[in-house]
């Protein structure tokens, strides 16, 4: 078995670039969804908000400035091929160094505070990153950077439901989370739902669900139908763009599912604002 050497300097450089471009360039799928929502929205004030968001994305891409001043906690998913040998340092240090350089060089806001319950001192370089590493077949490293803003993250929920509550109870808990959040998470939102596993895994599933393209359909028809039902119910709430009233409360709902303990029915909702900033690169 041949092992491929990969210098962690390449990872640092890639993460630096991902942090900057993810924050300047709204992904095409999200942009197209906002344009489509402008045409479909019935509320005049809602339409005006959506038009501002499209114009804002245009300005950010053209002037190379952040889409939103909350340039987020840097969440990095590293899928490391098991035939890769990382040399020159540790993966975690390389990712943090990439975040440090990207947030510095890109004029991105540093939004990480240490000692959250007391001093809340800014770390001044947006580190540490949140790093999720998985081993995958092959000799490549795939890096995905998500800039996760605080306002929407704050509206997320973990729900340890009883199996007897079934899908009726679970779907209601998703809708309730979005309803309670109202205008706070900068709607139109994108909703990631994790189902099953343990408390750590279910929240990770909800976050991973947010990496899907807006408008994409889940490969499993049963899950796709659950997503469609939730999207329809959420958009019936009337919250609308920025919570000012309207039909476009969510652009999409994505579900990731895994088995649960026989005693448990965990469900997590990760709320994402319309500025759904993420980008992937393969090394």
């Amino acid at each position: 078995m041949r092992v491929r050497d990969l210098d962690v300097k390449d990872i640092t450089e890639a993460v630096r670039e991902l942090c900057i471009t993810a924050n300047y360039d709204l992904p095409r799928d999200v942009y197209d969804a906002l344009v489509a929502a402008c045409a479909a929205e019935e509320s005049p004030v809602g339409r005006e908000v959506l038009e501002q968001l499209v114009e804002n994305a245009d300005i950010a891409a053209r002037d190379r400035v952040p889409i939103c001043q909350d340039t987020g906690f840097a969440v990095v998913f590293a899928e490391v091929g098991q035939d890769v040998h990382l040399v020159g340092g540790t993966l975690a240090d390389a990712v943090d160094e990439g975040v440090r350089r990207g947030y510095g060089d890109g004029y991105l806001r540093k939004s990480v505070a240490q000692e959250p319950a007391h001093a809340r001192r800014n770390t001044k370089d947006n580190t540490p990153a949140i790093l999720h590493t998985t081993l995958v077949p092959g000799d490549k490293v795939r890096l995905t950077m998500m800039a996760k803003g605080g306002g929407a993250e704050n509206m997320s929920s973990l729900n340890m439901l009883k199996p007897s509550q079934g899908w009726a109870g679970m779907s209601q808990a998703v809708v309730d989370t979005v309803s309670r959040a109202g205008s706070n998470p900068c709607p139109p939102v994108i909703i990631g739902v994790g189902i099953g596993g343990t408390i750590d895994e279910v929240t990770l599933l909800a976050k991973k669900a947010l990496l899907r393209d807006v408008g994409s359909t889940h490969p499993e028809a049963r899950v796709a139908a659950m997503e469609d039902e939730l999207l329809e119910r959420i958009n019936a709430l009337g919250i609308g763009p920025q919570g000012l009233g309207g039909r476009t409360t969510a652009l999409d709902v994505f579900i990731e599912e895994m088995p649960s303990h026989i005693a448990s029915m965990p469900m997590a909702v990760n709320v994402q604002c319309h500025a759904q900033r993420h980008k992937t690169v393969e090394l």
Partner: protein, 185 residues
């Protein structure tokens, strides 16, 4: 939607003339302040000390910008979630604060204080920081530079677009707008 043009500092007359749902364009000085700055402002009031800016008629903008690129007045500069400042807002209104710009829900206590003290809450579009920055023409940090993005800055805005969410008459666009478009399950 034709926007009402208003200037800061705000007078009670101007505030009384604003209704939930009105689009406005704000020109004049607004003060950038978010979580850490509010904590310090309230501590100063509690200690009986002077504040770094005149509260009477003032408008605060709940915002912490991204760093300005060379040659730019400010970085991206959209509103943050206002609810985190709810604990501090009623006291500031009692001391003369007339306007707040942010996004998201306020507590009943804050809304009541707006009626009692004749103050108004505007929403700017969250996540439109690149666009809103173009309406900010002056930017000077006046207190707590060590707080970085959480410092207090005196911002000069020109035709800054916002919508009245809570007026001083009890109007609430978040409630009214949502009720208008909600479908029964």
């Amino acid at each position: 939607m034709a926007a009402k043009k208003i200037r800061t500092p705000l007078t009670d007359d101007v505030v009384r003339g604003l209704r939930a749902g009105d689009a406005v364009e704000i020109t004049g000085v607004v003060y950038q302040a978010r979580d850490a700055a509010h904590k310090r402002l309230v501590a100063l009031i509690d200690a009986g000390e002077d504040l770094p800016f005149e509260l009477q008629g003032a408008v605060v903008y709940y915002m912490g910008p991204s760093p300005a690129k060379p040659g730019n007045v400010i970085g991206s500069a959209g509103p943050t979630t206002s609810g985190r400042m709810d604990a501090y807002a009623p006291l500031l209104m009692r001391r003369g604060l007339k306007g707040m710009i942010g996004k998201g829900l306020r507590t009943a206590e804050v809304k009541q204080a707006m009626q009692d003290e004749t103050a108004v809450y505007f929403a700017a579009t969250g996540g439109a920081g690149a666009l809103l920055a173009q309406r900010i023409v002056g930017n000077e940090v006046i207190a707590y530079p060590e707080l970085g993005a959480e410092a207090i800055a005196r911002l000069e805005v020109k035709d800054f677009p916002a919508i009245v969410v809570n007026d001083c008459h009890g109007g609430d666009l978040y409630e009214e707008g949502r009720a208008r478009y909600a479908k029964a399950e």
